[in-house]
Amino acid sequence: MSGLPLVALVGNPNAGKSALFNALTGARQKLGNYPGVTVERKAGRLSLADGRPVELVDLPGTYSLSPASPDEQVTRDFVLGKQAGEKLPDALVIVVDASNLDNHLRFALELIALGLPTVVALNMVDLATRDGLELDANVLAQELGVPVVSTVAVRKRGLDHLKTELETLLGAQTGMLRASAGEPDFDAVRREARRIARAAIVRETPSRRLTAAVDRVALHPVLGLALLLGLLFVMFQAVFSWASVPADILEGWVTALGEAVTNTLPPGILHDFLLQGVVGGVGAVIVFLPQILILFFFILMLEATGYMARAAFLMDGIMAKVGLSGRAFIPLLSSFACAVPGIMATRTISDPKDRLTTILIAPLMTCSARLPVYGLIIAAFIPARSVGPGIGLQGLVLFLLYVAGIVGAMLAAWALRLTVAKGRSGGFLMEMPKYQWPRPQDILIGLWQRGVIFLKRAGTIILATNIVLWVLASFPHAPEGVRQSEYSIAGRIAGGINVLVEPIGFNRDISLALLPSMAAREVAVSAIATVYAIDAEDDAEALEQGLGDRLAGRWSLATALAFLAWFVFAPQCISTIAVTRRETNGWKWPLFMIFYLFVLAYAAAGVTYWAAVAMGLG
C-alpha cells in the first residue's frame, strides 16, 4: 500500500472503467467488451494538474453492492474499506454509460449513498449521441448532488476536467472518511434513478441502431451459428496461410544465426551447446511467433468488438446440455489463446460448480502453445493441398484438432457435472454490450503484450528446460555406431518412458520429448529439434534438412497422428497447473486435472494409433 491518495473507478460492467483507467494512467491492460473482463487488481498512477500523484484502481464491474460472483465481492469490500490490505478509498470516480443511464444511475445512487467524496464520469457520450440521445450534465450534477463530468474515454475527452474535479475533492478533505452501506429500498432507488435520468435527457431522437441491425444476423439461430463457425474457421485457415511468409523469414534468420555460430566458434562443446541447445531448440519455437500473433489478433478482435457475448448467447443451448452456461464459453474461447487468462476469467462465473467445471476443462481448449507442436507435425505429414475452394487440407486438419478439443471438453464437462461437480445448473443471465469498432492501438498493444510474453517464455522456461535436456542428451558420449540420443542419460530415461507409451505408437523421439515438455508444450518441438541436432552432428546432410523433413523420414503417419491426439488432451503446462492451484485454493483439483487429462490423452493417442494402423497408415 502506498501513502498516495487512493481513488477507485467503480461502476457497471462495460461502463468504460478500464478504458478510462488506461486513458488516465497511460498504463495498459486488456480491454474486453463482455461483462466483467477485469478480474485482477489493476492500479496505476495518475498525476493531477498540480502534479500531485494519486493511486488509481480499476475495480471489477458490478451491478450493485450485493455481490453475485467472486470478483464482485472485491468491489464491494473495496469501497467499504474492508478489502484485505487496502485502505478505504479517498475518493470514488463512478463511471456511468450515458446511453444506458436509468440502469447505471441506480448503482451510482447506491454508491453515492456510501458518503465518500465522489465524482461521476458520464462516459460514452459519443455512443449516446449515436443513439440519438442528448444529455445535460449540469442537471445530472444538481440531481445527484455530486460533480458530473462528460467523458469519452476512448477519445480522451473530458479527462482534464475530471482531474480538476478530483483535485478539488481530494483538496477539500478533512477528518476521517467513513463509508457505510445502508439497506436502501431497491425499488425506491430504481424509481429515483429513472426520474433523474428522465430529467437529464434533453432530447431523444430515434436513430438507426447499429447493434440491433448486426444482431439480426449475429444472433440468428442459423445464420448466427454459421457466422460463428465461419469466423472460427477463417481464424484457423489464417493461422496457416497468413503466417507462412513471416515464418519463413524468421526461419531464415534462425538458420543464419546457426551458421554464424558455426563460422565464428571453433568446434567443441560451446559450439555444440549454442548450435544444438540454444539456436536449434529455442529457434524451432520462435518461428511460430507469427501464427500465435494471428491467433491472438482474432481473439482480441472478438473481445473488443463485443462479439464474444454473442458467441456466449449462441452457445448457451449447447453448453446447457452439458450442465454449463453460455457464460462459460467466454473463458473457454480465451483459452484458445492461453488457458491461464482463461482460468482467471472464470471468476466472473457466480455458480461455484459451474466455475470449477469450467476451470477443469479449460486446458482442453487448444491454446497457442500447442500451435508449434501441431504446426510442426501438420507441416511435416499433411500435404499442403487444397480440398475445396479456399480450404487447405492443413488448415482443415488444424480445425479438426480444435474441434476435437472442444468435443472433448464438452464430454468432460458433462461427465464432471454428473460426478465431482454435481449440482443444479447456474442459469444464464448476461448483458449484451453494444458493438464497437475497436481502436487499432488497443489491438496492437494487446498483440505486443502477447508477443513479449511468448518471447519471454521462449527465453526463460523453454530455454532453461532445453539446456537441461541438451546436457542430459549429450552425455555420456556414445561409442561409434550407437546413436547419441539413445546412449545418453536422457536417452536412458526415455527408454523407461518408452515402455509405457510404446503401445500407443510413440517412438523414442517422442518419449524423449514428453518429460521436458511437462514444463510447456512448445518444449516438445525444441526438444525434438535439439535431439536431432545432436544426432546429426557428424552428418552434414542430415543437418541441412529441415526439422519437418527429418520427422517425415523417421515417423510413421500413424505415430504422427497419435502424437497430435495426445497433445489435444495432455495437461503439459506448469503455468496452467499453478493457476489452477491458486484459483481452487489447493492441490486437490490441479492433481485431479492432471490425472484425468493424462488418462484421456493416453486413450486418445491409443485409439488414433490403432485406428490408423488398421487403416494401413502404420
Partner: protein
C-alpha cells in the same frame, strides 16, 4: 402473455413477475438489469436451433440474455403502457 410467447420485436411492458420461481441470485440480477413491473421490454431474438436456447431481451435501453425458464416468469402486455410504477 408470457415473455417467452411475446412475438419478436413487439414493444411491451411487464405486468407481473413471479419472483418466487426465481432463485434469489437470479431475481436480484434481473432486478439489476432493470426488470421490474412496468418496465418496457422487447423480445429481440430466440437462440438455439430448436427455439430452446436463451432469449435476447431489451429491457429499457439494455439488451440482456436470459434462459427461457426465467423469461417464463415474466408476464407482459402489449396494450397501451400504464404509468410507470
Amino acid at each position: 402473455m408470457r415473455l417467452t410467447d411475446l412475438p419478436l420485436r413487439q414493444p411491451a411492458f411487464v405486468e407481473t413477475i413471479d419472483w418466487e420461481s426465481l432463485s434469489s441470485v437470479e431475481g436480484q440480477r434481473l432486478r439489476e438489469f432493470g426488470l421490474c413491473e412496468g418496465a418496457s421490454v422487447e423480445a429481440l431474438h430466440h437462440g438455439g436451433l430448436l427455439g430452446r436456447g436463451p432469449l435476447a431481451v431489451k429491457i429499457g435501453r439494455m439488451t440482456v440474455a436470459m434462459r427461457r425458464n426465467h423469461a417464463a416468469a415474466v408476464e407482459v402486455s402489449t396494450g397501451p403502457q400504464e404509468a410507470q410504477v
